[in-house]
């Protein structure tokens, strides 16, 4: 049944002859492991085409949808993480395999006449694969890909005479945006794979035309490609797949950073590991010599690689070629090591990586929130998120005087002796107020110690009136603290406030009577004689927004305000940012389980 059908097919196509030629090519000296690299590369490329097409089926190239669609593939779609992970890690494996293939060709002398053309097509293929990885790096439109790609396109601009025009063509305008993505995708998924397909066809054709360059001396008799070499190639491909799968499972897919944001600096920007040597190399070219590091020397190295078949003709040329490429690889490893080593000892970079991971995790939490991703894109999720923006705003606007848990809120340790205002971690919480009303700590740097209120009425009151309290007074103070703290309505204290509702009512009474807070503070009713900040809804969102807007208002410190800028009134921060800062200080942001923790 099958045979007549195949006979018919063979008569029309001649496939048996083609299959025979493909499978029964002579392998001089028999199958060997050293010949597997070309096949593993072809296999890796096939994986890339298959996974790439499936990714493409769900990818949407625009500033508002690129990250979003990749997130959707990675986190929501069935086995999306696996497909994207395979694509990501096979791309990395290809670089390793390219180097191994090149070294094998070089050591076996397979680049020399009559195989020059085959060698050159191979080198061009190597460059095309590198270009694939550069263009693919941008497509997820996350911070890392965005900033790293900006550097690359700016380097394109360094090319003499045509650089700027070339850069604008690559970018699709002056700045990264929609057209950058559409162009990168078309090049990544259409132009480059098309060229690679053509060149690989030529590469394999030429390889078959000239045959394997056997490693002398031949150890065994000649054999056909099928089945010995095919088996070895298959085992090698299986090993490649296993290695790739190991990484895919280990990292559960591929990394996806926070969405690209042109207005948020990204100090953690680094290229993929195989570009680190070039990245490090650039650091050594000061001023206008950059073109040497970015263009001239890399091009000269390429020219040398292309010239190797000619150099190999000389007596010592072959050894020189091998030595040169080994030196090149060793230099690459050294530069890569220097880049990694420098970053490991760079505290700012380490903090930036922590920040970058925090943003990446956070945006996924927000994307999965009931609100989801709005049409303007996921970048707005982080821009409107107190948990993300609060620490940044604090570090930039508050940390020159205040601290947040001893740091600038982004993790950078600051000089404790220069703390000239209170530490705001847990502001208005019971714990924070307990420290404020403790004679031992009220004048520490954590509270009023660095301010002009160090010797003020409040410190005086706490030190004199609250020192060595009787058990009864201590209980009264706990109630007052619970009452003042309840004014804030902090999300983290919601259940405690509900539980202690009766105590809080007593506390409100006490702060007006025995504890006499209202001698100086206004509380719940207008008091024109008040000289200290209003305790009505103290620490609530409205209170904090009004305070940040103008702490020198009579409701707060009035003319006694100590250096604290009127952020809103002076136009230093807009209402949006003040709101974010207030929400963050209160620990009020979205959490999947509903419990934010400051």
């Amino acid at each position: 049944m099958i045979k007549p059908l195949l006979d018919w097919l063979d008569h029309r196509t001649g496939y048996r002859k083609i299959a025979h030629e493909a499978l029964y090519e002579n392998v001089p000296g028999g199958a060997r492991w050293r010949y597997v690299w070309g096949s593993t590369l072809t296999f890796a490329l096939v994986i890339q085409v298959i996974t790439g097409v499936f990714l493409w089926l769900s990818y949407s190239a625009s500033s508002q949808t690129a990250w979003e669609s990749v997130y959707y593939i990675e986190d929501e779609m069935t086995l999306g993480w696996l497909v994207r992970g395979l694509h990501h890690f096979t791309a990395q494996a290809m670089i390793v395999l390219l180097v191994l293939h090149l070294m094998q060709v070089l050591i076996d002398g397979a680049y020399k006449a009559p195989r020059e053309l085959n060698f050159w097509t191979g080198l061009i293929l190597l460059l095309l694969v590198l270009a694939l990885s550069l263009t693919g790096y941008l497509l997820p439109w996350d911070q890392k890909g965005y900033w790293a790609s900006r550097v690359v396109t700016n380097l394109v601009g360094v090319v003499p005479f045509i650089g700027d025009g070339l850069r604008r063509l690559v970018v699709g305008g002056n700045d990264f945006g929609n057209l950058t993505l559409t162009r990168f995708l078309a090049i990544h998924a259409g132009v480059l794979p098309g060229l690679i397909f053509l060149l690989i066809t030529g590469h394999i054709y030429l390889f078959r035309r000239h045959g394997i360059t056997p490693k002398q001396p031949l150890k065994k008799r000649d054999a056909a490609f099928w089945p010995d070499q095919v088996l070895m190639d298959s085992v090698a491909c299986l090993a490649v797949l296993a290695a790739v799968l190991f990484f895919v499972l280990r990292f559960h897919g591929a990394e996806l950073g926070a969405p690209a944001d042109a207005s948020t600096p990204f100090p953690a920007a680094r290229p993929e590991w195989y570009y680190l040597p070039l990245y490090q190399f650039l650091k050594y070219f000061p001023g206008t010599t950059e073109i040497w590091g970015a263009i001239i020397i890399p091009v000269l190295v390429l020219v040398f690689l292309f010239a190797m078949p000619f150099i190999g003709r000389w007596k010592l040329g072959h050894r020189f070629n091998i030595g040169f490429v080994c030196a090149l690889l060793a230099g690459g490893v050294l530069l890569g090591y220097l880049a990694v080593n420098e970053d490991q000892h760079n505290e700012r970079y380490q903090l930036a990586v922590v920040q970058s991971n925090r943003d990446a995790e956070r945006v996924q939490v927000l994307a999965q929130s009931p609100k989801g991703i709005p049409p303007e894109g996921a970048v707005t999720l982080l821009a409107d998120d107190p948990f993300t923006q609060g620490p940044r705003l604090f570090a930039q606007n508050c940390a020159s005087c205040h601290r947040y848990g001893g740091s600038d809120a982004l993790g950078a340790k600051l000089d404790a002796t220069k703390e000239s205002a209170s530490d705001l971690k847990g502001f208005a919480s019971r714990e924070w107020l307990t420290g404020l009303l403790n004679p031992a700590t009220v004048d520490s740097l954590h509270y009023f110690g660095g301010t002009k209120f160090k010797d003020g009425d409040m410190v005086d009151f706490v030190k004199k009136k609250l020192a060595d309290p009787s058990p009864e007074k201590k209980m009264q103070m706990d109630k007052v603290i619970a009452a003042v703290s309840a004014e804030a309505g902090l999300p983290a204290q919601r259940s405690a406030d509900q539980r202690d509702a009766d105590l809080i009512v007593e506390g409100r009474q006490l702060l007006r009577t025995q504890i006499s807070c209202t001698d100086c503070h206004q509380f719940q009713q207008p008091d024109s004689t008040a000289i200290a900040p209003d305790l009505t809804s103290y620490g609530s969102r409205d209170w904090l927004v009004a305070f940040l807007n103008d702490p020198a208002h009579t409701r707060f410190y009035g003319k006694d305000n100590d250096h604290m800028p009127s952020f809103g009134k002076q136009g230093r921060l807009n209402a949006h940012d003040i709101g974010l800062l207030a929400d963050w200080l209160r620990g009020d942001w979205y959490e999947p389980d509903g419990n934010a923790k400051p």
């Binding site: 500033s63 508002q64 700016n154 601009g157 002056n174 700045d175 929609n178 953690a268 800028p565 002076q570």
Partner: protein, 180 residues
């Protein structure tokens, strides 16, 4: 004659799709407006928001932005460092935060590396370019080909800080405006 005709027809057959496609691809070179949001005058902040001791502060530049087919009103298109000077004629200076080396954001640091003076300045986290507070190159090994790009800055209505915001080509010793 027939051969010449074949060549000519072949040329036309190929030229129509190729030439029109290439023209489409070259569009970003043929128009200035694509992604061009340079040279906008923007009110950035007020004088009171700038520390009097001359420490620079970073501010976003908010303006309308065109990204091919999308137009966004009031979105961040870049950022500047503003700092006060002692010069009464020019009380505020403005610098584009983009590193003229390869286009990363530079950071203000209270102390540059020792080789680059150890003084306060700007540091690029990508390739370690260093700049003094006045924007000039700080360290000899700094990879940037020129100092930070200073922008025109004026004080209007007694305390409003306005900046003529513009981006410049990276990697060149000359300050070449983008999209000009």
């Amino acid at each position: 004659m027939k051969k010449a005709c074949c060549v000519a027809i072949g040329g036309v057959l190929g030229a129509v799709p190729v030439a029109s496609g290439v023209a489409l691809y070259l569009d970003p070179l043929l128009r200035n407006s694509s992604g061009n949001f340079n040279g906008v005058k923007v009110r950035v902040t007020t004088l009171e928001a700038l520390p009097e001791d001359g420490v620079p502060r970073r501010f976003p530049i908010l303006a309308s932005r065109v990204d091919a087919w999308t137009k966004t009103a009031e979105s961040p298109i870049g950022a500047v460092y503003l700092l006060r000077t002692k010069d009464a004629q020019k009380p505020v200076k403005a610098y584009n935060v983009i590193c003229p080396h390869a286009g990363c954001f530079v950071d203000y640091v209270p102390a540059l590396p020792e080789a680059a003076s150890g003084q306060p300045g700007y540091f690029c986290p990508c390739h370690n370019s260093t700049f003094k507070l006045d924007g000039s190159i700080a360290g000899q090994s700094s990879p940037a080909p020129r100092g930070l790009d200073e922008l025109e800055c004026s004080i209007e209505n007694s305390n409003e800080v306005w900046v003529q915001f513009q981006n410049f080509q990276a990697g060149t010793a000359d300050k070449v405006p983008l999209g000009a």
